[in-house]
Subunit: 266 residues, 4 copies
């Protein structure tokens, strides 16, 4: 808290901005559960967690309730905590046809900024195609980066016998498809693959897909010296998994610092 | 702070939601001190402290002011910082008869989600029955987990000669009943028993009850690799004890890291 | 941030509460700069900093703008982040006559709680009498406690050659009175005396007064295994000194952990 | 979160204050993107990050959208999280002629406080003149101070092969002028010069200018035992660079503590 709250109630600015949108978009964005609004809300939350500092990280949500072929994607290179619902790209699966681009929004709102979809887009799409995910989160969490540095020669992060593991889904391959069969148990070993970073984010696509294929039980992939990708059946599941994993990474760093083993055979 | 405050004032959403409730519930939830509202408020606070990340932790409050037999319990497996007052289970002591379930709430509000009471319920009930507590808090605080890891072979956490200890109640067994006789003094030794975790939360009940019986002076029990249970005469006392204990656990970790003894004989 | 802001605007509760006060008090508390309101505001801030967790810490403000003989004191044993302006004790110097007590406030507001002035009161009074302070802050800051543990055999905390030192006042004794002659310079050595804790807070009075007398240059006193007292010419100066000192204590702990000397002879 | 939000909506105070300003200023400050308002907003954000605790740090913004010769400068020695838009100094380049001073504002608003422009002013001006920056941020970030202490004998901070580096601009000298040619790549080495602190902030000007000249690729300069200066083409770029650099400094400290090399030759 930095002083008595500084919010601008009934902020005229906001109202003006909205009135420049088409009536259809104005109405859509009235709904605080609209995927475009949820991206804004979660980006602010992630920013406060130091997960998307600068312009890092990204998030994409499928409209699972109405039309799962519709995918909302945050733009690249903007301050994540300040994006507005009309700044999202809207693409349609399976062809990734762009249905709406923030570059089509009235210039008064966007100040003629030339938007590009998040560089993570091919990675988000991989999670949608290979896992039928409902949302995918990418952060630069320092816990994610540090764990890949502390275990610099390992290709996996593993931890067991911590209660929080029970928040992570138990996934199994059935008839060629990965399905959720419950949640991990306390004594289960959580395994998250670690892939090596590449100079360009899109070049991670192949190794991310390999990891997803090789680890049918995983709902996240760590990227060394970079961050983490986490997905889930819905945006809220993705949020919960991401939180639980970051909690476990934070704890694992403390355990490693104190020479406590991450996996026990209790 | 992630940007100028993003609150939605007079949020139409909220009003709509409320109007779907019965007039009686609508009126009850007007009172910000209603136990169901206090659970919501405290869960948001605990979330910001990283105590109930993911869907971890839980809280239960007895309506000590009006009818101490009424117990409000947060549901299991939901995001704690987002629960609403109508998502609570209301049960009546001593039979734990369910008087109201969120599964009876209009489906428009709950999106047909099938609620279960917190898995901590038998543990909360143990605190009510054995100690006549007014509220019980369960968190996955990393300080709680770390202290049980740093003292992996100990069955107790102990600390003395820290001012904050004076926030903890001094309890004594009188005529077979544990009563509060004041607060711990600066030179007193705070003792919190540590029990071993079990795969299923309800299976902790026996060992929690044993610890409560064996340590009549305790107002909290640590669960190894899991978290902590804290209770108090009222919800506010439980909150204060939980805060003070977490402060002491955080400090104890720092002291241990610096090879400073937790108990002195000054 | 735990979710879209949950504030209650035009909260009917608040208005009701106010209407139970006398018209005079209602009017006084309209002013957000009233000392009683400033105590509330700063306690919330300190709570968010983990300085007054549980019910720890305290604060007192003199009404320097209107009548410097009027002293507002937060009550003892209550949750500091939730106190209301009418819960303060108002006493008059030099006799410390109680002009107003929260115990005289309508019982509907106080729920018949029996208030006591902060146990720090004699310590606050010492700062007023010996230093003519305008406000005095007492916290249980973990940085303060840790520094007294890391330097367990020292009677002083000292640091030099850190820019933030320039926020601390330079005090000198002139004609038997301590006066501010400017601010410390970058190369000056900040010295804060450390006194030993006592079981009862009021028993710290003698050693606090001794420290204040022996260290005419100090604007703060550390209490081992307990916390810190910081005062200033006005409430804002006290806040700034307290913040700058806590910053320096936090930095000093990190320096000590990395074997970097706190005082250099550059 | 310290309790249900305590904001004062439609705060009469704020309105009164504004009404004492000239109609022209009242209108200017209606715009939340006015440089004077942005300084207030960012100072609150920086305060919450512990970057401008006490009265430390500073910020200056040029009005790049309207008249790049107009420079807004925060005042010296005030609580950064509480400054108001009318407390800024407004000067005109290149002569630094003072167009407006908070000392000319109605005394009811300023309580007759005698304002001075930030002691960083000559350093801000150096960034404007040598680099044509649009804004300059100065903080006392503990990460900045600690890195200069951990590498006490080094004149540079360097780090490579961390994804977040890609948020930093790639600058090159062309025809005697430093221009942005893109962003650093993942494998690039970020280099930030470290200059030695001086007793008086303005005496840093020469060495800051030397560093800026010697390191045409830098967008920031660390000041040993003091903090950091970061600039950018616009206020938002400066904010993003500052955040990304602080993230990297925080990570670098953790890496150093764990004996992980900051620069790799992968």
């Amino acid at each position: 808290m930095s002083a008595p709250c500084h919010c601008k109630h009934g902020e005229s600015n906001g109202i003006t901005e909205h009135s420049q949108l088409s009536p259809d978009l104005q109405q859509q964005f009235q709904d605080s559960n609209h995927p475009a609004n949820l991206i804004c809300e979660l980006c602010r939350l992630f920013y406060d967690n130091n997960w998307v500092t600068g312009t890092g990280g990204g998030i994409s949500i499928r409209d699972v309730d109405n039309n799962p072929n519709l995918v909302y994607i945050a733009p690249s290179g903007v301050q994540k905590e300040r994006i507005k619902p009309w700044e999202m790209f809207l693409v349609e699966l399976p062809d990734e046809k762009v249905l709406r681009s923030p570059n089509d929004i009235p210039k008064e709102l966007t100040k003629s900024y030339k938007y590009k979809p998040s560089a993570c887009t091919p990675l988000f799409m991989s999670c949608y195609k290979l896992r039928d995910a409902g949302a995918c989160i990418h952060t630069h969490s320092q816990n994610a980066v540090m764990i890949t540095l502390l275990f610099e020669n390992q290709k996996e992060f593993t931890i067991s016998h911590i209660e929080q593991i029970k928040a992570i889904p138990k996934l199994e391959k059935k008839d060629g498809k990965v399905v959720k069969v419950g949640n991990l148990e306390y004594f289960d070993k959580l395994v998250i693959p670690i892939i090596e970073n590449t100079p360009h984010e899109e070049d991670l696509t192949d190794s991310l897909q390999d990891a997803i294929e090789s680890y049918p039980g995983c709902t996240a992939v760590l990227v060394r010296r970079h961050g983490i990708y986490v997905w889930g059946e819905t945006v809220w599941k993705a949020k919960v998994y991401n939180e639980a994993i970051d909690y476990l990474l934070e704890l694992a760093i403390k355990m490693k610092m104190s020479n406590i083993k991450l996996v026990t055979n209790e």
